[in-house]
């Protein structure tokens, strides 16, 4: 008993590497692309671009982290995002004299409404009707996409005021060399949102109950945790984050596309898993999911800079997901 304990306490460089493999990969990728693009990768403009490219996936994967820690999965996030984007732009079209600051509630309120409704649907089906998460969210994915096309009449929403793009495409700190500004508003917005859900998960009783429920629902139930509510709320948070991502995307592109964010759920799942959140539930963190997001963004960005065919990016990302899952399994095995 005692001996085994001493062993497990000892610091091992190998354990550290395995646990933080994703960080190692990230650093290696950054250095690799830095060399491969002859420093172009490290230019300030590119690094700032990188944060805006990460923004949507960061929102999606931060919310998805809750659901995956709960031992579930949500493949409806792309559709929910698109639906929120369509509805938000449809409202924006009705307000021709929209001010920059006035665009903020036009983003946030529809996102909250769409997110809460879609998340409640998923959460209700999974926690109360005992529908398998994959199927419940597959239904939501299909329904959500259908509604996008119904509301938008099948085409992109047009006639959106320019000011609608303030949050998604605007920047702070304009200088002579860079009249557009340095700090993207979208980056600030995303950092605030992600930090909020990170703190909720890591510092509050609710967050602790998310981990407990995902680790062993029966144990949590016996300890007096209302596990059904925890599962329900986890899905609501996930969908709200997805809907926020959707309106940011619409604002960034200044357009309400019914086909927006198609397939984004896979990138979000990939980022979350890369960040070390276990698909079997019980462990993970929002902060680490962000590292996963960074890996995917760096791969896409770096390969673009190197003019590598975008189809290859999918192949590389697929391979990396597989690698992350195998790593996760290897860790799990060690524990038994």
């Amino acid at each position: 008993m005692a001996e085994k304990n001493v062993q497990s306490k000892g610091f091992s460089a190998k354990d550290f590497l395995v646990k933080n493999m994703v960080v190692v990969i990230l650093v290696a990728l950054i250095l690799g692309f830095g060399l491969g693009t002859a420093g172009k990768f490290f230019q300030a403009n590119n690094l700032i671009n990188l944060t805006t490219q990460m923004a949507i996936n960061a929102m999606l994967s931060a919310g998805l982290t809750y659901v995956i820690i709960l031992g579930g999965i949500d493949i409806s996030v792309g559709s929910v995002a698109a639906l929120a984007g369509v509805i938000s732009t449809l409202i924006a079209v009705q307000i021709p004299g929209l001010s920059k600051l006035g665009s903020i509630p036009i983003l946030i309120i529809p996102a909250l409404v769409v997110g809460v409704i879609c998340g409640s649907f998923n959460g209700f089906m999974i926690s109360r009707m005992n529908v398998v998460p994959m199927i419940a969210t597959l239904a939501m994915q299909t329904i959500g996409r259908g509604l996008c096309f119904i509301f938008s009449g099948g085409t992109a929403v047009s006639g959106i005021p320019k000011t609608y793009g303030f949050v998604g495409a605007g920047r702070w700190l304009a200088t002579e060399g860079n009249p557009n500004g340095w700090i993207p508003n979208i980056t600030i917005f995303v950092i605030i949102m992600v930090a909020a859900v990170h703190i909720l998960l890591s510092k509050t009783v609710f967050g602790r109950h998310v981990y407990a429920t995902g680790s062993n629902q029966q144990v949590a139930h016996l300890a007096g945790v209302n596990t059904k509510n925890v599962v329900f709320l986890g899905h609501v948070i996930c969908s709200v984050m997805a809907a926020m991502a959707g309106v940011l995307n619409a604002s960034k592109l200044n357009s309400g596309q019914p086909a927006a964010c198609d397939g984004y759920e896979m990138y979000a799942i990939a980022a979350t898993v890369l960040g070390g959140t276990s698909l079997t539930g019980g462990s993970g963190s929002v902060a680490r999911a962000m590292i996963g997001c960074a890996v995917i963004a760096v791969i896409n960005n770096g390969m673009n800079l190197m003019h590598i065919d975008s189809y290859w990016q999918k192949v590389v990302i697929g391979a990396i997901i597989l690698f992350a899952v195998i790593l996760d399994m290897a860790q799990k095995k060690k524990r038994v």
Binding site: M1, A2, S8, T204, G207, A212, G282
Partner: protein
């Protein structure tokens, strides 16, 4: 002295089963009270009633002399009744402190107060003298089973539980770890906590308990102070029942050796298991739940791999990589739980019957031989008198007894010569049991070998030609049909070293 928890004339009826009838037990503060009985005696039902999982059909629960009705496990817990389950109730991904405070986390403002929870957890572990081994920030899943149990005890102490129910707490512990557990039990007892202690191990009962209550077939048998009772009396009152006459046993003639196991060992689950089975014989493997019998059988069948030891079939050593190899050597296994490992519940009877034999009856290009499937499946449904409208019936719709016949048909169709039966009559009614024993006898009369694991003593005694008893993963004795009695088996089955 006033008992802190009392079960008064408790009766619990489930549809078709009377699990408890008129059972009364008192638990006193500062006393360890052993609840004893064979598997199925009603101990688990009683625990579940005391901890608020079930409500009794008749009778009352008294807490400090006051009648009380628990609204659920949470309610019982809030009133000071905690259970340490046989399977550990630990969230493996959370830390020790997080587990101790699960469901009652401390907060400061809207955030978790990890510092004070860790400090309190350390205090508890210090009280238990475990602080050198377990740290509040350790991840629970990385601790040993014994350490995880200590975390559960810390949780119970933190809740200020007045009654702690321990359901076979030593089943996964080593000798050394049991001492550490007993130390904690003594500390709890000295603080005036009442402990209900469920265990099959005589040695432990006499070491740690103050009082014992024996249940048999859902009825109260006796309560005694441990100092006033002997091990022999305790065992006798746990079994003490006539062997029912529905067991079918015919005289067989024992032939040559068919299955021999030498020194089979697998980690903690079983050690140095050796036995021989012969043609024309039913070899019973007796023991308590958790004695390592199922694991041993699964290893022989190739579903698990031994660390060491040898298996011989018809005198030749074999190395089974998977059940496929065992089946090729004409061995069949009727598993313990037919619903999860014995049958494809949603499939038709005929598909279940032919599954292991399909690869031996393929037509060219790997097509299944439908004509053969139809013929043979009907033939065996007839031979074994399975009650079903047709072989195309979904097997999940049959009764337990008929399902079990189909499992047997599966191995007969695969031409098994050695059948391993693990709890073959669990959950089937008396008549179906009797029919099943007849089928077993027929098989042996035709030169087959049966190795039967059973936790039901009357069954082992009534059906077997020879009996091997296991305890804690070791073979503790062998008895011939003539010399075997319930007392002797129970004695061997609780031989903890």
């Amino acid at each position: 002295m006033q008992p802190c928890l009392q079960a008064v004339h408790i009766t619990k009826v489930f549809p078709g089963v009377r699990a408890l009838s008129d059972v009364s037990v008192d638990f006193y503060p500062g006393e360890v009270h052993a609840l004893m009985g064979e598997n199925g005696a009603g101990k688990s039902t009683l625990i579940k009633i005391l901890s608020g999982v079930y409500t009794p059909t008749e009778g009352d629960i008294l807490l400090d002399g006051q009648k009380i009705e628990f609204k659920g496990p949470r309610d019982a817990m809030d009133r000071g009744i905690s259970v340490i389950h046989q399977e550990l109730s630990i969230a493996k991904d959370l830390t020790v402190a997080e587990n101790i405070f699960l469901g009652e986390e401390k907060t400061s403002g809207m955030f978790l107060d990890n510092r004070s929870m860790n400090a309190r957890a350390l205090e508890l572990l210090k009280q238990m003298k475990m602080d050198a081994i377990i740290k509040p920030t350790d991840v629970a899943g990385e601790l040993t089973a014994a350490q995880q149990q200590m975390v559960e005890i810390a949780r119970v102490i933190n809740k200020n539980a007045r009654v702690v129910i321990m359901d076979e707490p030593t089943s996964s512990l080593s000798e050394h770890e049991i001492d550490a557990l007993f130390e904690q039990i003594r500390i709890l007892r000295s603080k005036g906590v009442a402990i209900a202690y469920i265990s099959h191990r005589m040695k432990e009962i006499f070491e740690i308990c103050d009082r014992s209550t024996v249940l048999r077939d859902g009825c109260f048998v006796r309560t005694d102070l441990i100092k006033d009772i002997t091990e022999h009396d305790l065992v006798a009152s746990m079994v003490g029942r006539e062997i029912d006459d529905y067991f079918v046993h015919t005289e067989h003639t024992r032939g040559e050796e068919t299955l021999r196991v030498e020194g089979l060992t697998h980690g903690k689950q079983f050690k140095n298991v050796s036995f021989t089975a012969y043609k024309g014989e039913i070899l019973g493997i007796a023991g308590l739940v958790g004695a390592g019998r199922t694991e041993t059988m699964e290893t022989i069948f190739g579903a698990r791999h031994a660390d060491s030891g040898k298996v011989f079939v018809n005198g030749k050593e074999v190395h089974f990589k998977s059940p496929k190899d065992a089946i090729a050597h004409k061995i069949g296994m009727v598993t313990e739980d037919r619903r999860t490992t014995g049958l494809m519940l949603k499939a038709m009877i005929k598909d279940n019957e032919v599954l292991p034999s399909l690869i031996y009856h393929m037509k060219s290009m790997g097509f299944a031989d439908q004509k053969w499937i139809d013929t043979v499946s009907k033939e065996y449904v007839g031979k074994l008198r399975v009650k079903t409208p047709s072989v195309e019936t979904i097997i999940g719709n049959l009764s337990g007894g008929n399902q079990q016949k189909v499992v047997l048909a599966k191995w007969l169709i695969a031409e098994s010569q050695i059948l391993i039966l693990d709890e073959p009559t669990r959950g089937i009614d008396v008549n179906a049991k009797s029919e099943f024993y007849t089928l077993m006898n027929d098989f042996v009369d035709q030169g087959g070998t049966i190795v039967m694991v059973s936790s039901e003593l009357p069954e082992v005694l009534g059906v077997s030609d020879r009996i091997i008893v296991m305890c804690e993963g070791r073979v503790t004795g062998e008895l011939s049909r003539e010399e075997a009695t319930e007392q002797k088996i129970m004695y061997l089955a609780s031989q903890v070293d």
